[in-house]
Amino acid sequence: MAHVSVPMYWRTIPQRYRMVGQRCRKCDAVNFPPKGVCKYCNASFEFDEVKLSGKGKVHTFVLIGAGGAPPEFAEQEKAGGMYPVAIVELEEGPKVIGQIADVNPKDVKMDMPVSTELRKVYSEEGVIRYGFKFIPEELSR
């Protein structure tokens, strides 16, 4: 099943909570989410931990509507209508997917600057999953 189990989630907490990525010791590029081998030089598996700023801009986005939401997100769609999911290009280089919160879906734009906050993502198996969401830069505290 495609759902993310508690142990599977638990192993990625540094990424979900603190956006911990890897700086490649060979080519200096930043990998996020982590890879076994640097995806930029494909020649090194030695990294230093780096905490990303969480700032970036919207590269592309989708508004998930009825029928397009996975079952564990159906409640969110039902309660709040369409929700935006974006691929954001982070300041440090990598792109990453995440939801955009605190915004009217109609106001999401390409290239919109965003920052990152820790939010509730969903709950399943009686456990609330927290993780990063993107917030439009103009609204960020």
Partner: protein, 388 residues
Amino acid sequence: MKKVAIVGAGQSRYGDFPEKGIKELFLESYQDMVKSVDKGMDSRRIGAAYVGNLGSGGFQLGNMSALVSEFVGLPYIHTVRVENACASGGYALISACMDVLSGAHDVVLAGGVEKMTDVSGVKQKYWLGVSGDTEYERLAGTTFAGLYALIAHRHMHEFGTTREHLSAVAVKNHKNGAQNPKAQFQKEITLEKAVKSPYVAYPLNLFDCCSTTDGASSVLVCDAELAKEFTDTPIYIAGFGSSSDYLAIHDRINTVTLEGTKRAAANAYDMAGLSAKDIQLAEVHDCFTIAELLACEDLGFCEKGKAGQFVEDGHTQIDGDRPVNASGGLKSKGHPIGATGTGQAYEMFNQLRGTVDKPARQVRDAEIGLIHNVGGSGGTVSVSILRR
């Protein structure tokens, strides 16, 4: 070097068949294949079977290829389930080719089967989410429609691709599928209806998405030197190629290109000694309308970013200069995941032999055709080039 020929091909009807499970569906396609072998076939000649399949009714089932093989009368052979998500069938065909080329077996079955409608709607989405990047894409709240929507939106932003361009793919494929007696949806749709259907994952709407389908397909391949023992009109596999890519779209070098398609096609063209301009018709992986536009570009049928116009201008219609998805494609014919790739081979086998079941769908005098099968949002891709 050895060559591989296709000497028979069969397909079950695609759709929703409560009375049929994976065994019965596979049997329907297998018997249809046996019937298509002009000079007849002794099943004892089949030394191996490669069966594409994602899951059996939404669940894992060990040894499924042995099960469906023995059910159709093929016990005691080398049989393997091939799983590369929606590209399982395309890879099953390539595995069969590699088997023949290696000299291990000289007559081999490639096929696929999927039973998708036994699963409730909620389970369906849990199940079908498995072929993307589960840890990040799924946890952001997307299913496949959402992932292809991310690609579509960027494509629209970079190249000016329009709502109408996307819907033009759906309208064309439903028009073709209406002429396919084995298709799931044998019904034309208007551009207006396609454009105005409700959004599932903006910018993609309901008519941009293929459905869930029960179905199976079977293709008989052999060492080309033996082909004439089965038929006077074999179809040759001139080339094949495949390539994986990063699973998550955010990890890829380019959001609006399926690198897997480009590389798989380059390998197939190279093996066949052909280029994109030599391809007269194609069956491509249109799980979503945007996927057909990407395929036209990444296979080299038109320039990057220009596929919307290319489709709107009619090039890919059955009477156009490069018909694409004359079968109705995944969109209208249906997409029984593991069966889709060898189902494309079934269509192309008949197109190139001039034996398509309905004349309205027959592309005239074609000699060279390409089939293109994508797993997930591009994590795996297979391409094969068939030649009369």
